[in-house]
């Protein structure tokens, strides 16, 4: 199924994706640590040794990923929780690649017998969004677009 990635505003990113499961199942996969650590990974060989979720407003979510000697961590604080429907949290990576906290809203929407997961990310500033880097996690993730041959540089 196709993922849609949009930039509705200068500080925002919106990601939409449909899943062939009902909302309560998708909610579980987003909030139960044993399920989250199975999918919230990097593309190749990252593991998630730490995954704790204190699912209440004001509660924290802590993720740590590892691959070889590389480590990265993310702490989130829940601002709003509506079970099977939406959660809002502030997020900050340990190494702050995102230029300050981001405000992340994940909402679930019925779509026939499936569910659309909408992830809205609000960055501290446009510079923060455009300068954000996934750092180590995407190293070696040379998608097909790597062949763009410095076209961006030529066009700038």
């Amino acid at each position: 199924m196709t993922l849609k990635l949009m930039t509705p505003g200068d500080r925002e990113i919106l990601i939409e994706r449909r899943f062939a499961a009902a909302r309560p199942q998708v909610w579980r996969a987003l909030t139960e640590p044993d399920l989250v650590r199975k999918w919230l990974l990097g593309p190749d060989g990252w593991t998630m040794p730490v995954c704790t979720i204190d699912l209440r407003v004001g509660g924290e979510m802590r993720f740590e990923w590892a691959r070889g000697d590389a480590r990265m961590g993310l702490t989130s604080t829940f601002k709003e929780i509506v079970p099977d429907d939406r959660m809002v949290a502030t997020e900050k990576f340990d190494e702050d690649w995102t230029g300050g906290e981001t405000l992340v809203t994940q909402s679930l929407h019925d779509d026939g017998d499936g569910t659309i997961l909408r992830t809205h990310i609000l960055y501290a500033s446009q510079e923060a969004r455009d300068g954000a880097k996934m750092s180590g996690m995407t190293d070696g993730m040379e998608a097909g677009y790597a062949r763009l041959d410095g076209m961006f540089a030529a066009a700038a």
């Binding site: 199924m1 196709t2 993922l3 849609k4 990635l5 949009m6 930039t7 509705p8 505003g9 200068d10 990113i13 990601i15 994706r17 899943f19 062939a20 499961a21 309560p24 199942q25 998708v26 579980r28 996969a29 399920l35 199975k38 999918w39 919230l40 990974l41 990097g42 593309p43 099977d84 997961l117 992830t119 455009d130 300068g131 954000a132 880097k133 996934m134 996690m137 995407t138 993730m141 998608a143 097909g144 677009y145 062949r147 763009l148 041959d149 076209m151 961006f152 030529a154 066009a155 700038a156």
Partner: protein, 115 residues
């Protein structure tokens, strides 16, 4: 900026084709007419025109004022926005969500105990 608010999916689809990337590289050096763009490719003008339409819809190029020549020119802003970070982010989420598909499939077959 609002005008570019954005057709990222169309932009990525447009960039995925090597001929279209070659056209963009040519236009990065300056505007060109359809026949000038077709010249280096072993392709008919209608085939090139099709590629140009895809690029224009994606906001990557525009058609200039000159009614006779109808030169195409690059719209660099669309490229700047479709930057490396967004490509990386998209690829990362694509891979995560494929894994999430598998988790959800497993939940179904093992009989979800929740809700």
């Amino acid at each position: 900026m609002a005008a570019a608010a954005l057709k990222l999916d169309e932009t990525f689809a447009a960039l995925a084709d090597p001929t279209r990337r070659a056209i963009l590289r040519r236009l990065a050096k300056g505007e060109a007419s359809v026949s000038e763009l077709a010249a280096p490719f072993d392709m008919s003008q209608p085939a090139i025109s099709k590629h140009l339409k895809v690029l224009e819809r994606a906001g990557l190029i525009s058609t200039g004022q000159d009614a006779q020549r109808r030169p195409r020119k690059l719209e660099p802003e669309a490229l700047v926005i479709a930057n490396d970070f967004l490509i990386e982010l998209r690829t990362l989420f694509d891979s995560r969500y494929a894994a999430l598909d598998a988790v959800l499939e497993e939940l179904k077959t093992t009989g979800a105990t929740g809700d």
